[in-house]
Structures are given as C-alpha cells and as structure tokens.
C-alpha cells in the first residue's frame, strides 16, 4: 500500500490487486469513502466464471476464460452497490484525452480501459495485444499522467502519448477510450443484499446456461477436449492449446488458480458478514478446488517442458479438470441453496 495524492489533493491509497477490473472498481469506491475490498467487488459483480470458446481464435489457439466478460464486474457491482457512474466512449482520440484532462481538473480520479501492449511501464513479458486492461488515472503531470495500476505494487508515471495509444488501440474488444468515474455513491451500501445478488447470479451462470461451452459444462467439454487433443492436433498443437488454458488461468492477473482463490476470499468475507458457517465451509472448499487447479497447471507445465519425456499425460491433466468440474458443480449447488436461505 502506498499513499498518493489525487487531483483533488485528497490522499489516495494504492492497493496492490490481483485483478485489474475489480481492483479499479474498488479503488473508485474507496475514493468516495466506501471501504470495500477487491474480492468483495469481484464477488458482488459475479466475476467468477468459466467458458471455452472453440470458434474464437487468438494467435491460432482457442480461448478459454475463467471470468465473466470484460466490463461486467464493474457494471454489475456498481449497480448492485447503488453507485451512479458516468461512462463515456469517444470517436475522436483528441476529444477523449481532452475530456480526461477536464474531469481530472475537477478533482475526480478516472477509471480507463486500455490496451496493455502500449502501456510502456509494464515489463515486456506482460505486454500483449489485449484491449481490456483497467487502470486509474490520479492526476496530470508534465507530459503525462500519474497512474495507479492495480496490478503493480506502486503507482507509476505514464507518458500522454502512450496513454492515448493504449486507450484508442484498435482490434477485438476495442475500448474506444472508455472512461468511467462515480457521480454519486451510496455511502452505506447494503453489502449483504448486494453479496446475495452476486452469489445467485454466479450460480446461475455456472450451472444454468443452456450451452455446453459455459460454466461447469464448459469445463467438462474442455477437459474431454484436452484428453483427445494429442490425437487430434498432434503433440505440439495440443501443447499450444494446453498452454493457452494455463496462461488464462495464471498469467493474466487472476490472483492464482483462475480467480478461484479470490472467490474463496470473497466467500470468507461474506461468511463473516452473514455469520454463516455454511459460507465459511464453502470458502474452504473453494480453496481446495483452487489447489487442484494449481496442480493442473503444474502437470500441464511438466508436459510442455519435457515434450513427452515424462509420466504426466494429457489424460491426467484433463482428469484433474474433470475433478474440478465435479467439485465446483457441487459447490455452486450448495452456494445457491445457502444464498436462498440467507436474509439480506
């Protein structure tokens, strides 16, 4: 945690977060005086998810996701917590930058959606074409902006030119300079009601979507696909697919195990809020499931590193994922039952 000063001269506490979107949303709420943690935002905004999109290819491999679509956590959590946010997109980059300066001038910190490749303060390893990274801009400095990036330990400086490129990068999911800031925030939000809404929505998304590629069914589908993949795609092709799954699980700022640990942290906080033993048990179970996801990553890495010279097999990796699917199915069923019984 580091203390910075916002454009209004108020102190701003930078909190190192696992996930950019929930980190930014939590920071915007905290700036308005609502004490709320990152996992709480993540849970209320129904951030946890699973999906495997066999028909969307990026760089030649299919996409799997461990979270709901970009922007959903912000949108849902803001609505459920009773915050009114002003959002804007722009056609003209210059107008977008002018508007950002104007709002910063009024003393308001601003959330932005950017392309991570053009944010030069990141190490090269982090930089890839992805149009969904969220940051908070604190105030303007000479030739640039002071930026609080929740994925980094400290706030950083970002040149204005880089920020403009990052905001207006083209390509899939382009943000078109998307910016958002709170206009009014309920100072005492009903965390219990919002948390219950988030849990119920999550259970619905994980269990009830009638398509075989989302939620628990998506996990089973992907697990079986991984088991078959060496025959279908050849060894290297299968490795490539497997590595893309593990990258989505561990690389892209998930707090470990594809957001499962962060969701366990949310359940833990919710358990205290409701004084519910059942939620505390579910938090423990989620942690255990997260550990299996980590094991899946370890097994996958061994397969990829040794290129077939190891006892680890694609069957084992897929099998671990099937175990996760089974246990998560039970967990979300129990959570739906528990959430139905709790009173807001």
């Amino acid at each position: 945690m580091t203390t910075e000063v916002t454009a209004a001269g108020k102190p701003f506490i930078h909190v190192h977060s696992a996930h950019c979107e929930s980190g930014v949303t939590a920071a915007l709420f905290r700036d308005k005086g609502v004490e709320i943690s990152e996992p709480m935002i993540f849970g209320i905004g129904s951030g946890i998810f699973f999906g495997h999109l066999p028909f969307v290819k990026m760089g030649g491999v299919t996409i799997s996701t461990f979270r709901s679509q970009p922007g959903a956590v912000f949108r849902k959590s803001a609505k459920r917590l009773g915050g009114k946010f002003k959002t804007a997109r722009f056609r003209n980059p210059k107008k977008g930058m002018d508007e950002l300066r104007r709002v910063l001038g009024t003393g308001q910190i601003v959330g932005l959606t950017t392309n991570i490749y053009w944010l030069s303060y990141f190490p090269n390893r982090f930089r890839f074409q992805f149009n969904g990274h969220n940051i908070v801009v604190l105030h303007e400095i000479e030739n640039g902006f002071r930026v609080s990036d929740p994925m980094l330990e400290e706030p950083v400086d970002c040149p204005a030119e880089d920020l403009e490129r990052a905001r207006f990068a083209r390509g899939p999911l382009e943000s078109r300079g998307f910016m958002y800031y709170p206009q009014s925030v309920n100072p005492n939000p009903d965390l219990r009601a919002a948390g219950l809404q988030g849990m119920k929505d999550t259970c619905k998304m994980m269990l009830k979507i009638p398509l075989p590629i989302f939620g628990i069914r998506g996990m089973r589908y992907l697990a079986k696909k991984i088991i078959r993949s060496p025959e279908k795609l050849g060894f290297m092709g299968a490795c490539r697919e497997l590595s893309s799954v593990v990258r989505m699980q561990e690389e892209v700022g998930t707090g470990g195990a594809g957001f499962r640990y962060m969701y366990a942290a949310f359940l833990q906080e919710a358990a205290e809020l409701f004084a519910s033993k059942e939620l505390a048990r579910l938090s423990g179970e989620m942690t255990a499931i997260g550990d299996i996801w980590r094991e899946f990553a370890v097994v996958s890495a061994r397969i990829i590193k040794k290129r077939g010279q190891t006892e680890e097999t694609f069957e084992k990796a897929g099998g671990l994922m099937l175990i996760c699917a089974g246990r998560e199915e039970q967990l979300f069923k129990d959570l739906a039952k528990a959430a139905g019984k709790l009173k807001a």
């Binding site: 190192h16 390893r125 330990e153 083209r170 561990e250 690389e251 640990y261 962060m262 370890v298 990829i304």
Partner: protein
C-alpha cells in the same frame, strides 16, 4: 494456498511483483506479492519462443527480399493485418498486398506515414529491418 506456498521462483517479472491471494496462519485471505512461478515461465515461454521464432523468420524473409519491412514491424507489434489496417486506416487486403516488397517500395508518403504512426516507428525505420 498458504502464504508460504506463494511461488517466489524467479524474478520473471523484471523486478515487478504480481499479487496472489493466499491464506495466512490465521486462515484469513491476504494479498501476497509473488515474484514469479516456474509454471508460468514454462507455459508463457512456449508462446514467447514461437513468437520470437516467427519474427526472426520474417526478418530473414525481409532481408532475402521476399517480404516487406511492414510485415516485420506488424509482427513486432503483435498485430494482425486487420488490426494494423484499422489503426492505419488502410483496408486489410491492401495491408496484405503491401507485404510484397515491390508493392511496398512504390507506396506514397501519406500511406507510409500512416503506417509509421500506427506502428510507433519512424519513417526511416519502417523502410528497413534490423540487420542482426
């Protein structure tokens, strides 16, 4: 995951640390900065190696006169003809056509300027590739 199990394998993030959620001794979830995990290095290494190999192959092709430098800089920026086309306001099929050195060499300054801006390189850089 316990706080002591948070991987601190390698300084893989170039000195930066990434946040992980883990349980402390009282069983409460806390943020723990991680300096890197070997699993990530292996998994990401596969993608990074392939990208580097493909970039090197393109560079050789440019030096051999088979492709234009435009193709090299596009790959360097991890773009596709579609993304580059949108950024530079050139139709994607024209971008692909400009990968041919003979077509590329006849391009006018306005198109080249748009490409240079889209790729964040100077006009001189855009006409050559690094020799090594």
């Amino acid at each position: 995951m316990n706080v002591r199990e948070v991987p601190q394998d390698i300084t893989y993030y170039e000195g930066k640390k990434r946040a992980c959620w883990a349980l402390n001794d009282e069983g409460k979830y806390v943020i723990v900065p991680s300096s890197g995990w070997e699993v990530e290095a292996v998994v990401n290494g596969l993608a990074v190696e392939e990208m580097a190999a493909s970039l090197e192959a393109t560079r050789q092709a440019v030096l051999a006169g088979v492709k234009s430098p435009l193709c090299y800089y596009m790959e360097l920026r991890q773009m596709t003809p579609e993304i580059l086309g949108k950024t530079a306001r050139v139709a994607a099929f024209r971008v692909r056509r400009h990968f041919r050195p003979d077509v590329f060499s006849k391009l006018g300054p306005s198109v080249l300027d748009r490409y240079a801006r889209a790729l964040a390189v100077t006009l001189d850089e855009l006409k050559t590739v690094p020799q090594t």
